[in-house]
């Protein structure tokens, strides 16, 4: 994978300068660093790649049924992997990650649309800050099988909690069914909601300029702000939707024929696929990457690793 990444940035030297790929490793709860995790951590150290250590402790299944206890074993798993990483290569970039949640003991499923998912992952973001490590935590995944109302509710609660905790990366967009299923409409809808959450993160600026006292005194009682020059000048500071609908019912009906949000989101995904071209690879890179893949396949057939 490092070879692939290096090929796509025009060589190993470029890759070492700006490694565009970080290795995800998952300890196994409780308290196990399996062979492949250790191997990837040590190999990453040799190659100058960072690691993202992501346990998925299941409170009540593979960790304590109490969230505090789950945070302890989760923390032990992450810190032990970081010890291995730092002993392999001092200063190696490590990200403190999590997708821990509860095991729903009634259904035997790892529930990731539950409030506990947001609560655990928001707490993990805080723990990472306590250790001064960058964080990568869950938020926004859903247990629903469809990109429906349940998935919207579940996205918003856990993604907002993790975001408000100051997580550096909140991951979960697009995930349905305990993360087993990915849905294009959900990715597109989640991206719209992410913009809204980011507006909320900005908070309300209380300054003389924003209090707009001169305008308030000028407009007085019963006057109109909508026609005031100040509103025209500041209107771009308002949040704007692309996908979510704020039109009047008549305008909405006329424009969409009453189509549901998720159908519009699928349409958006199709349009993106037709229109969007990712930034081109360096010359010769796509040939190099296919050679790496076919060589790897040959090695596998010969019974290599």
């Amino acid at each position: 994978m490092v070879d692939l990444a290096a090929a796509s940035v025009g060589g190993m030297e470029n890759f070492r300068k700006r490694p565009i790929f970080t290795a995800n490793v998952c300890p196994i709860s409780p308290l196990t660093l399996p062979n492949n995790t250790c191997e990837v951590v040590m190999e990453a150290a040799r190659l100058g790649v960072g690691v993202n250590v992501m346990p998925m402790a299941l409170s009540g299944g593979t960790s304590s049924a109490t969230l505090a206890g789950t945070l302890v074993t989760h923390n032990a798993e992450v810190l032990s992997a970081i010890v291995l990483a730092q002993l392999s290569q001092k200063g190696m970039p490590c990200t403190y990650a999590s997708t821990s949640t509860i095991l729903d003991l009634r259904f035997g499923t790892s529930a990731i649309g539950c409030p506990e998912y947001g609560m655990i992952n928001a707490s993990i973001a805080k723990l990472a800050q306590y250790y001064r490590l960058p964080s990568f935590v869950g938020g926004g995944a859903s247990d629903s099988k469809l990109p429906d109302i349940q998935s919207g509710y579940e996205f918003t609660l856990s993604a907002t909690l993790s975001a408000l905790a100051g997580a550096n990366i909140v991951f979960g967009s697009g995930a349905l069914e305990q993360g087993l299923t990915i849905d294009y409409a959900k990715i597109v809808m989640d991206a719209e909601m992410i913009r809204m959450i980011q507006i909320a993160l900005k908070g309300i600026e209380i300054t003389d300029e924003k209090l707009a006292m001169d305008v308030i005194h000028e407009v007085g009682h019963g006057g109109a702000y909508i026609t005031h020059e100040h509103s025209l000048r500041s209107m771009r500071s308002q949040s704007q939707t692309k996908l979510f609908d704020r039109r009047s019912r008549n305008d909405w009906l006329e424009l969409t024929q009453g189509k549901e949000l998720r159908d519009q989101a699928y349409q958006t995904a199709i349009e993106i696929l037709q229109r969007h071209q990712p930034y081109a690879l360096p010359n010769g890179a796509s040939k190099a990457t296919s050679e790496i893949v076919s060589e790897f396949e040959k090695e596998l057939k010969k019974g290599g690793k």
């Binding site: 609560m119 928001a122 909690l161 408000l164 809204m196 959450i197 507006i199 909320a200 908070g203 309300i204 600026e205 209380i206 300054t207 300029e209 924003k210 209090l211 707009a212 006292m213 305008v215 308030i216 005194h217 407009v219 007085g220 009682h221 019963g222 006057g223 109109a224 702000y225 909508i226 100040h230 509103s231 500041s234 209107m235 500071s237 308002q238 949040s239 704007q240 939707t241 979510f244 704020r246 039109r247 009047s248 019912r249 305008d251």
Partner: protein, 327 residues
């Protein structure tokens, strides 16, 4: 292994949000006092003007503009109780509103309805209110009741009374209800009295509070003033819901919108407390931005949540119970 007791430590008993600092609340408060003192509020009610005049406000009778010295506003804030008892028909329905205690209620008032049987989008009727009240009555986490819809099948002059009857007879939870005007307010009180048995009993445990809205910017219309005074005189609580529309009837910037809304609510509080000291009062908001591209009220926007969170914080700064939009 022995794990002995630890010395005291700082704990979070739950998650919370940093919305506004004390300094920022103070800044909003002082800006509000400035507007109330220099620009004032339009008050469209003779008796209300009289009450405000007697309470130390400067009243311009001709233009119906009232200006509020700082001390009048700050006195009223101190007079109002920090705890609001939202009594239900039975003691087990009572809900205490104070400080950071969080409860949820339904939205009111919708004027249209999606018929669950036919899928038709149509005007709401008294029968719809009855069904909504029964559904809400059964939902544990909707702890108080706001009349969800309006009796469009009744003449406008008596709709509030029908709304009240449909609601009060179908849920035991505390009611937030807009009585539209003073006349209907009296009738609603009569219905409440009939349900609880006597006027005395209703005064002891008012199971209904009036909800009323100022008009932005900076106007207390006649019916609003009348309802606010009537609630105080009858020992009832009143919920004041600020309805500024950021970019439409208040500044685009949320800071300025919070000031406009604060002026409207605090001036109403002065009228309420001057009518009867210590009257139960709830600081409310249903303010949202006006999307200036679509010209619609965007109750689903992130700003609506941000304004509501700020209002909850401001109410706490004033030690007043709060009632804010969200959902």
């Amino acid at each position: 292994m022995k794990r002995r007791l630890k010395a005291g430590k700082r704990r979070n008993s739950g998650f919370s949000l940093n919305v506004l600092t004390d300094d920022e609340c103070n800044e909003i408060h002082l800006a509000t006092l400035d507007v109330l003192k220099h620009t004032g509020v339009f008050v469209e009610h003779e008796e209300a003007l009289e009450v405000l005049d007697g309470g130390g406000c400067l009243v311009d009778r001709k233009n119906k503009v009232v200006k509020f010295p700082h001390w009048v506003v700050e006195d009223a804030i101190r007079m109002a109780p920090s705890t609001f008892y939202a009594y239900g028909r039975r003691p087990e329905d009572d809900v205490v509103l104070e400080d950071n205690r969080v409860t949820f209620t339904n939205f009111g008032e919708g004027i249209m309805f999606v018929d669950p049987v036919t899928g038709e989008h149509r005007e709401t009727t008294k029968a719809d209110i009855i069904k909504a009240a029964r559904i809400i009555d059964s939902l544990e986490h909707i702890e108080t009741y706001e009349r969800a819809m309006c009796s469009h099948d009744k003449p406008p002059e008596v709709q509030a009374i029908h709304n009240a009857e449909a609601s009060l007879t179908n849920t035991t939870k505390h009611h937030w209800l807009g009585p539209v005007n003073g006349y209907q307010a009296d009738k609603v009180i009569d219905i409440c009295t009939a349900i609880v048995g006597s006027q005395e009993e209703f005064r002891k445990r008012p199971l209904l509070s009036f909800a009323t809205c100022p008009i932005s910017p900076l106007k207390l219309p006649g019916h609003h003033s009348e309802i606010v005074m009537k609630a105080a005189k009858n020992g009832m609580g009143v919920l004041i819901i600020g309805m500024a529309m950021s970019g439409g009837s208040s500044p685009v910037h949320l800071a300025g919108t919070l000031v406009i809304q604060n002026c409207e609510i605090l001036s109403t509080l002065v009228l309420n407390q001057l009518t009867r000291k210590g009257s139960p009062f709830v600081y409310g908001t249903s303010t949202c931005p006006m999307d200036l591209r679509m010209a619609t009220a965007t109750v689903g926007s992130p700003e609506t949540g941000m304004i509501s969170a700020a209002v909850a914080r401001l109410a706490k700064y004033y030690s007043l119970p709060s009632f804010v939009a969200g959902g």
